[in-house]
Amino acid sequence: MSLTFDDGTFIRSELVTPLPPPIRNVGIIGWMRENLFSSVLNTLLTLFGLALLILIVPPMVRFALIDAVWTGENREACLDPGVGACWPFIRAKFAQLIYGFYPIEERWRPNIVFAAGAILLVPLLVPSWPMKRLNALLFFVVYPIIAFILLTGGNIDASSFLFQRFGLIQPITGDASIAGVNIAFWADFVLTALVAAALVGGIIGLIGGNALSAGRAVLLAFAAFGVLVLAWDIDFGLRPVETRQWGGLLVTLVIAVTGIVASLPLGILLALGRRSQMPIVRLLSIVFIEFWRGVPLITVLFFATYMLPLFLPQGANPDGLLRALVGVALFSAAYMAEVVRGGLQAIPKGQYEGAMAVGLTWSQMMRLIILPQALTLVIPGIVNSFISLFKDTTLVLIVSIFDFLGQLRASFTDPNWATPVTLYTGFAFAGIVYFLFCFGMSRYSLFVERRLNTSHRH
């Protein structure tokens, strides 16, 4: 339909093509006007920021790459005035930074542990990878045992159990042993397991419970414990390496991984205890959690180093690293408990009620319904507490355990490498290593968060 007028009025019949926006408002210029120079203050901030960037970035690049020394055998290479980073220093100290004073001919053992850890960890972290349950079992249960045997050399003497105390078995078996495994001890162990199972089963049966299942449960527990002890007991022919010789990144990772492996189950138990209906259990959990969260890790390490030996029976003198590990594990368990509690609180009540309505027992409800949801929900929180645990491992250098940072600090004192740039090179290298680990973990946590979409962004 077209309009026609006789009086000569003009009506435009189609739209004018719009003019392009003014050049000052689009493209790079427009973006800069909008974002960088929109006001006097903004312009000043931009200039100040650019000045800061120019002050920081080029010197750092020059130090680390352009002016850096890449080859050399000793300090002579890095003595010229105005040189940058002294990378040969890192190369010379690399093994010490990674393994500490772990015997050179035995370094294949930590290497295997590193490699196995990486091989098990990567599929655990990729969400689409199958067999998560088996993978988690391998990483959290089997891997620590293997790592322990490889790193220490295993072959810890298990000599006496319950009946051995009374010298009941020794006379029969003598000191016979197979592959470093003491027969007397194992006869003792099996006997103890049977007696305990019979005892518990008997009591449960007497007061009207299921004697068979109770006895089976006790036997299973003993069997699991027995496998663990057996693994440590067998002599694999590995040379024992004292933890005093461990050091560097190895110790850092040992502490971090032990911390997470021990703190996760302990933290879950504590979180469940804190939300329990039972007043005494709840009180104990709260006191435990708040105590560890209220004190700095350093005091915990001092506690583990100086006070713990006093609390143990005389003669029991646990290894220095083990004591620090206990301290770190208890400390991080308290933090983990709070993370898990957050997840438990986020599960709607309907889930609990639904589980109870279909007749699940408390442990079935937790195991099958609540915890899987709660733990998935708090993966970012768990990763975050792992990051702070990783950063906290540096504190062990204060109780004379030479972790990565401790080895770095020790390497500064080497007169062979005493140059003006040694200190900065070392800090640059360690900074990059720590940053890569922590930044990687925090990116992973963000990735999981986004994938789970638990945060509600507008």
């Binding site: 920021g49 004190v295 204060i398």
Partner: protein, 396 residues
């Protein structure tokens, strides 16, 4: 429910160990027995071990002469002072680092947090780099870096860096002028107090007036002006009783002024920047939690940008920021124990370090040290709870 048919009274079909009540009591009894047994075992072992090592228990050692020097003391202390005095010195040093660190961490945190949300790309980039780098490096690493790589690398006192002719930075620390108070200082302090009081009263009056008429007073210039001008007039009237004692280079070292030891500087800078990065993230989250509608509504009511931020956004954001902020303050206080890594004489270094090594009273000393931090954290959480109650949303 009760008029439903009750099951036959008498023996129920299930065994009584399946009764939830019995179970819960039984479990708690087991837990309690375990804890008590563990505690008893620890105490018993400790008693035997202490007897074997011939260590006397008790807090009597606190009255013994310490016999070691401390490089920074806020209260009079000498080598003849007692261990109790050393404890006090360490505690005050810890609190000093905590207070100064918290002050700077808050400033850094708020600026960087707002910078992370800035429209200015360069500012945003710098803030992001700062937060990501600082948060992903261990605090002890940063403390060692500041101490070994920055402060120890400063020039010797003779070639010290001179700021404004008053402050000297060298590898022996930072030397600043020392204020000297003479007679008449009291008047200046009183006048300052009076000015502060007037500013507070004015602030409330201005707030009320703004609520009524929409126009308040420009409080920032008025307040700053009053607090500077009034004490200055008082000083002029009393003949400038407060003067500065300037540090002077004599031989190889400085005479006069106050020396801030490098350990303190390194620890404070590292903790302030570290915690500042965390506070920045809290501030960012807090500001982002205020929905954009609030800003738009404030704009449509005619509030200017500054007013919108100060009167609408920040008060609501504070509700989200304060709880994590207090826990960051607490973290900073606890992290100040890393001082022992560079030898700053804080509570842990002086008491759990030197005193423990000298006396061997491990149980008492570690219990006291842990107790101090526990008390600090309990006080903080109590204050936080009170504040939370005050600012919590009152829901219908």
């Amino acid at each position: 429910m009760s008029d439903l048919v009750e099951p036959a009274i008498g023996r129920s079909k299930t065994s009584f160990i399946n009764d939830p009540k019995v179970r819960s009591i039984g479990l708690q009894l087991i837990a309690l027995v375990l804890v008590v047994f563990l505690g008893w075992m620890f105490v018993d072992n400790a008693r035997q071990n202490l007897a074997a090592q011939k260590i006397a228990t008790g807090f009597g050692f606190l009255d013994n002469t310490a016999g070691f020097g401390i490089s920074q003391t806020l209260v009079p202390y000498s080598e003849t002072s007692t261990y109790g005095r050393a404890f006090l010195v360490g505690l005050l040093n810890t609190l000093l680092v905590a207070v100064v660190g918290i002050f700077f961490a808050t400033i850094i945190g708020f600026f960087v947090g707002i910078g992370r949300l800035s429209k200015n790309f360069v500012v945003r980039l710098l803030s992001t780099i700062y937060v990501e780098v600082i948060r992903n490096l261990p605090p002890l690493f940063q403390i060692l870096f500041w101490y070994l790589a920055v402060l120890s690398a400063m020039p010797s006192p003779r070639q010290s860096i001179n700021l404004l002719g008053e402050v000297f930075i060298s590898n022996r620390g930072i030397i600043v002028p020392r204020p000297v108070f003479e007679a008449g200082t009291g008047y200046v302090l009183w006048s300052f107090g009076a000015a502060l009081l007037v500013v507070i009263v004015l602030h409330y009056w201005s707030r009320e007036r703004r609520a009524e008429t929409g126009r308040g007073l420009p409080m920032l210039p008025i307040g700053l002006g009053l607090m500077i001008v009034v004490p200055f007039i008082a000083m002029a009237l009393t003949g400038f009783p407060i003067s500065l004692e300037r540090p002077e280079l004599k031989g190889f070292n400085f005479v006069g002024g106050v020396r801030v030891i490098p350990e303190f500087v390194a620890l404070t800078v590292a903790l302030a920047t570290y915690t500042g990065a965390f506070i920045a993230e809290n501030v960012r989250a807090g500001i982002q939690s205020v929905s954009h509608g609030q800003t738009e509504a404030a704009h449509s009511l005619g509030l200017r940008n500054g007013h919108t931020l100060r009167l609408v956004v920040i008060p609501q954001a504070m509700r989200v920021i304060i709880p994590p902020l207090t826990s960051q303050y607490l973290n900073l206080t606890k992290n100040s124990s890393l001082a022992v890594g560079i030898g700053y004489p804080d509570l842990v270094a002086v008491f759990a370090g030197t005193t423990l090594n000298q006396t061997g009273q491990a149980i008492e000393i570690i219990a006291i040290t842990m107790g101090v931090y526990l008390v600090l954290s309990i006080i903080t959480s109590v204050i936080m709870n009170v504040y939370n109650k005050r600012v919590a949303l009152v829901e219908r």
